[in-house]
């Protein structure tokens, strides 16, 4: 085995990697120095003051108060500095840049399924362009998983029945590990894959490969298949609320609560529509729990996100941006 088989650091392959490593190195240096100091003190004091002869007693020494105060206050200041630095990083990791490319992920015992907005699907393999923020929206079909990109220094637990997001921006091309970090059963250690970071032109070429149409257009087909348009019409005459321009808007419910129509709201409204009824509508929508699987839900979500009102002068495009973007930090 060679020295190259002995990694001390994972590769820094994302914008956040250097920043996380900086805090790690600072903590290693400071706590390492303090630990070495304590070990040295213990060793040196235990030798200098070793017992001889056998019946020797210690000198009684009262502890100076100043020393006690010092070793309470000084570490505490250091702890608070670490707290602030760590929290700042956490907010950076939670705040998705506005121009992020959307990727959808589904965790399932024991594989990772990824869907691209243009309709490509892949398993245990994720192709992304370099130098572009990628937002992964994800849910689990069964138990809790955790999507872990060690070389991007980020991970997030993937929960059943709830969307979570993480983001990264890869800074170099190549293949990097994807691991499942939350124990999920028999083949937990086999729930691994690779993220292939490509030059944007190569990524475009890869996208041009075979597809069943964009994710939103696949969602549109499902929208027709489940006859959603019967009630959710494009004008205010339908029995269900208008979905055009809904995503990211604030919705008033029948009990006068307001909610933001984000991914989790739309998911819940499909699977469990009785939970949050929009003001002015009746509780008539049937539940789709158990009928729409996670991947189809993501397609429907992509379609609903794509429904933006036509700007006054431009024709309607199903691929237009998805309106109000910033969803703020999400834990």
């Amino acid at each position: 085995m060679m020295l190259t088989d002995f990694p001390l650091f994972p590769e820094q392959a994302s914008t956040m990697a250097k920043q996380v490593d900086a805090l790690y190195i600072m903590l290693t240096v400071v706590t390492g120095a303090v630990s070495v100091l304590i070990f040295t003190m213990i060793f040196v004091l235990a030798i200098i003051y070793r017992r001889r002869p056998d019946n020797e007693l210690a000198e009684e020494e009262e502890a100076p108060k100043a020393l006690e105060i010092a070793w309470i206050v000084i570490p505490f200041i250091f702890f608070m500095a670490t707290f602030v630095w760590g929290s700042w990083l956490y907010f950076e990791l939670a705040r998705v840049p506005d121009n992020a490319l959307d990727i959808y992920a589904t965790g399932k015992q024991w594989m990772w399924k990824f869907q691209h907005p243009s309709g490509q699907r892949e398993i245990n393999m994720l192709h992304v362009p370099v130098n572009r923020p990628i937002r992964v929206t994800m849910a689990s079909e069964d138990v809790i998983h955790s999507l872990f990109f060690p070389y991007f220094r980020t991970k997030a637990d993937v929960l059943p029945n709830r969307y979570r997001t993480l983001w990264f921006q890869a800074t170099k091309t190549g293949r990097f590990h994807i691991f499942c970090a939350e124990y999920c059963g028999t083949l937990h250690s086999g729930m691994i894959g690779w993220v292939e970071v490509m030059e944007p032109t190569d990524y475009q070429k890869w996208l041009a490969g075979g597809t069943e149409g964009s994710l939103a257009s696949q969602g549109e087909k499902l929208f027709e298949k489940y006859a959603c348009a019967t009630c959710h019409t494009n004008d205010a005459t339908g029995r269900g609320p208008v979905l055009v321009g809904l995503f990211g808007k604030t919705v008033t419910l029948s009990d006068n609560r307001t909610v933001v129509a984000d991914e989790n709201y739309i998911r819940e409204s499909i699977l469990n529509p009785q939970e949050k009824i929009v003001k002015g509508f009746g509780p008539i929508m049937p539940t789709f729990q158990g009928q729409v699987n996670e991947e189809d839900l993501l397609k429907l979500l992509a379609y609903i996100k794509s429904l933006t009102p036509p700007p006054p002068s431009a024709p309607l495009s199903p691929q237009a941006g998805r309106g109000a973007g910033g969803e703020g930090p999400k834990g």
Partner: protein
């Protein structure tokens, strides 16, 4: 330097004195005993078996991880082994270790009491422990359980086909053993101190046991409730934690860690108590900053209740609640740091002996320090995102639990062994074991910090080839560690028959337990001691002890 010829004082030890071991004989005299010392021995016997069993599972895991491929065990077997390793070591070894063995034996004697406040409840605690252990072991025979010791939902309620019910029931039962022990200790410390033994004259071991008992009493019921909810969901499918039934899996994690984080302090606070006793005895000196050390135990017990969600920074809690839990986690680091600094400073101008218990405790201070400072990494939110659920966490908590709690348990066993058995163990072999444990431990777990940072997730049966070198180091270390743990088992048993007679006070230590015979009589003291000295006040105490014995 002053010196006192304390060992010239002849303690009166009539040859035919009855002690707690020979006062009566037969299996029933043990199984129905109400003597806290005998119950301590029963616990020592039971948890030693559990330690060997948990150690076996650990060793099998380390052997599997020698190569990247999953070739020695199947995935399911590996998953069962790490689950059983965790459950056995935490619920059936670490939590009862120091309190139920050393606390049971030593605490009443340190207080100058004849027994604990509720001797029958004390016996009941041991029986509850045994019933819980029975279910735990039954599950192994029936085929094992593979949820991890954390029993995370919905995996444990919907997807694991194995014996989750039996295991959680075992953990539920053993929890009551822990609650009753805590209750017993609290009442005993309040009500049964010897005349003159005021709160600030108490040995620091008593303070630590008091803080531990509070946590046992207040946190363990939450675990019991959580496990009952888990069982209800699994059996009758009431949706509590499972989203498919309308529950919330994060609710389970909150409830589980509300107990299981304080449980870390149930394991480490007693270890800190042993460290204070041993440092005082083997420097022949008052612990530096006695009150700071005493109150830091209570501070840890209190703050320990406020930091549970730091196990959940990537689980899906809001960024603001994560911030609060990170902030509070740094608070709990302060009292731990106070203790480390005070123990170290106590060596200054001490009369430092390098005997076995002290070697173990010096090792403990070093390893606990490393476990503590790596906790600072994990409490830093943005850094935790990367290292949580990796081997970094595994290394961190083994430094606290094994480098801390187990080292201190072994220190305590060696320190009080002469009192418990009346015999000395072979010093040379014991020092060798302390060194082997220290070296083996570091070789096992230090590489795991690096392994975690380079990205190896925990609970992996097979792993990427670039992680192999560090894993080989870790497995090699585990072999040395196993040898270090096996040695005491041999020479301690050997000492029962062949060890030198210990006498009343073989260490020249102070404390009420060193004023009575070894082994102590059934009622601990021939007459109730009266305490006129401060804790660890060597000159005053040796003088008083000498006078008492000369009367």
């Amino acid at each position: 330097m002053t010196s006192v010829t304390y060992h010239d004082v002849q303690f009166l030890e009539p040859a035919k004195t009855r002690n707690y071991l020979n006062v009566d004989y037969g299996a029933l005299s043990w199984l129905l005993t109400k003597d806290h010392k005998r119950i301590g021995i029963l616990y020592m016997f039971s948890i030693s078996i559990m330690f060997i069993l948990g150690g076996f599972f650990a060793m099998m895991m380390r052997l599997e991880l020698l190569t990247p491929e999953g070739d020695l065990l199947t995935s399911d077997t590996y998953n069962k082994f790490f689950t059983l390793h965790g459950i056995i070591m935490i619920f059936f070894f670490l939590i009862p270790s120091i309190p139920a063995v050393l606390g049971n034996f030593i605490l009443p004697i340190q207080l100058g009491a004849k027994d604990l406040a509720f001797p029958k409840i004390n016996l009941l605690s041991w029986y509850l422990y045994m019933i819980g252990a029975f279910f735990g072991l039954l599950v192994i025979i029936l085929g094992g359980v593979d949820t991890g010791w954390t029993f995370y939902t919905p995996f444990s309620t919907q997807y694991s086909n194995m014996h989750v019910l039996g295991t959680t029931f075992g953990a539920f039962i053993v929890g009551f053993s822990s609650i009753l022990t805590g209750l017993n200790f609290i009442v005993t410390i309040h009500r049964m101190r010897a005349p003159g033994l005021t709160w600030f004259r108490l040995p620091l071991f008593v303070w630590a046991m008091y803080a531990t008992s509070l946590v046992q009493l207040l946190a363990t019921p939450v675990l019991a409730i959580t496990l009952v909810m888990l069982m209800i969901e699994r059996v009758v499918h009431v949706g509590i934690f499972d989203p498919a039934l309308g529950g919330d899996p994060l609710l389970y994690q909150h409830m589980f860690w509300f107990y299981s984080h304080p449980a870390v302090y149930i394991m480490i606070l007693p270890a800190m108590g042993v460290a204070s006793e041993v440092v005082a005895a083997f420097t022949r000196k008052k612990i530096f900053g006695y009150k700071f050390v005493a109150f830091s135990s209570l501070a840890i017990a209190f703050l320990g209740f406020l930091v549970w969600a730091h196990h959940m920074f990537v689980a899906g809690i809001s960024v603001y609640s994560a911030m609060i839990f990170s902030f509070l986690s740094y608070f709990v680091a302060v009292p731990s740091a106070i203790k480390v600094f005070n123990w170290t400073a106590t060596l200054y101008k001490g009369s430092v002996s390098w005997q076995t218990p002290m070697l173990y405790i010096l090792g403990f201070i070093g390893l606990f320090t490393m476990g503590g400072v790596t906790g600072l990494f994990l409490a830093a939110l943005g850094l935790d995102v990367h290292v949580t659920d990796t081997y970094f966490v595994v290394a961190h908590f083994h430094y606290i639990m094994v480098g801390g709690a187990v080292m201190a348990y072994f220190a305590g066993i060696h320190y009080w062994w002469p009192k418990i058995t009346g015999r000395m163990y072979p010093e040379w072999w014991a020092r060798l074991s302390a060194l082997l444990v220290f070296a083996g431990f570091n070789l096992t777990f230090f590489p795991q910090f690096i392994l975690g940072y380079v990205g190896m997730p925990r609970r992996y049966h097979a792993y990427a080839p670039e992680f192999q070198v560090l894993n080989v180091m870790s497995t090699a270390g585990a072999s040395i560690l196993a040898l270090g743990y096996a040695l005491p088992l041999v020479y301690l048993l050997w000492s029962l028959r062949f060890g030198k007679k210990a006498g009343v006070n073989p260490w020249g230590a102070v404390g009420l337990e060193w004023t009575t015979n070894s082994p102590p009589p059934k009622d601990n003291f021939h007459e109730t001691p009266v305490v006129t000295w401060e804790a660890y006040d060597y000159p005053a105490m040796l003088k008083a002890m000498g006078e008492t014995q000369n009367v």
